[in-house]
Subunit: 142 residues, 2 copies
DNA sequence: ATTTCTGATACCAATTTAGTATCAGTTAAT
DNA sequence: ATTAACTGATACTAAATTGGTATCAGAAAT
């Protein structure tokens, strides 16, 4: 059971990469090289990040992309949602036969609790936090 | 992002169904009808549940399946693992470029914390608990 | 004008998912 | 002894998803 797919994975890495050099426009090519992400694939991913406002872009020579929000304000949950949609345990785990009234379904409740917990936890993991941790690790291994 | 696939979904429902009539052998056909699960698909799912000991079977006429463990001892986590493998956030979220030493990776740690949390929560949701909740709901709506 | 970029979109192969079909063997009942 | 009701095992398939590629148009800097 894989929680994050490649798109989300790459997106997070790209965001971290951008967050670590916060001045000026960074061309997609640079990120692609640095993070070993297939260029065209990354391009498509960046475009989605741009559409959702996490990233800003500037066309033409000397252009590129940069973060559109403070790294501390970008939670991984948000990125997951862009590329994999809202966390959903199952369309409706206990359907017709087992459970006639969705509204008061105790079971569904139980499961949605977990769903929400996961979302909260993934929201707490922000790009900013990841960058900080990363810097800490780098300092240690130097 | 769909957490449970059809196999897991059907498996859980089949287990609930079995847990609610705990006496004697139940033919797959009966579960298939009751839960509106495609017969052959269910058969294959049941075979995996049998292999992993959650369900026992008896061949021949008058045969069928029944739970192999106490409903209270079957956690949904266990079922998920059978059909979707262990929860794994990402092969290695921050690879070569970003993080050279997996062993002391602070970031990875962060993510694995969530992984474990999810697993624990899904372990606490047992077939027994689901059955109890289901009965409670049924009592209310009657 | 030319080079360096993004925007948009169409395409593709490989894998996974959800479901079907078949045949062999076992047990119970007649 | 036959037959009917079952599981065991496994092969097959269509459709969707995933991960990745390719192309072309247009914008800005030089
Ligand atoms: S499960 Fe669909 S509602 Fe109870
Ligand atoms: S991420 Fe692979 S180890 Fe830090």
């Amino acid at each position: 059971m894989k929680v994050l797919n490649k798109e989300t994975d790459y997106a997070v890495r790209a965001l971290i990469s951008l967050g670590m050099k916060p001045d000026g426009w960074v061309p997609a090519k640079a990120i692609s090289d640095e993070q070993a992400i297939p260029y065209q694939f990354l391009r498509r991913i960046l475009q989605e990040l741009i559409r959702s406002g996490l990233v800003e872009s500037k066309e033409g020579a000397g252009g590129g992309v940069r973060l559109g929000k403070n790294p501390a304000d970008i939670g991984v949950a948000e990125v997951i949602e862009i590329f994999q949609g809202k966390v959903q345990v199952s369309e409706c785990m206990f359907r017709k036969q087992l459970c006639s009234n969705r509204a008061n379904c105790v079971l569904r409740h139980e499961i949605m609790r977990i769903e929400q917990m996961v979302n909260e936890e993934f929201s707490k993991v922000t790009i900013g936090k990841l960058i900080d941790d990363l810097k800490a690790v780098e300092a240690l291994t130097k």
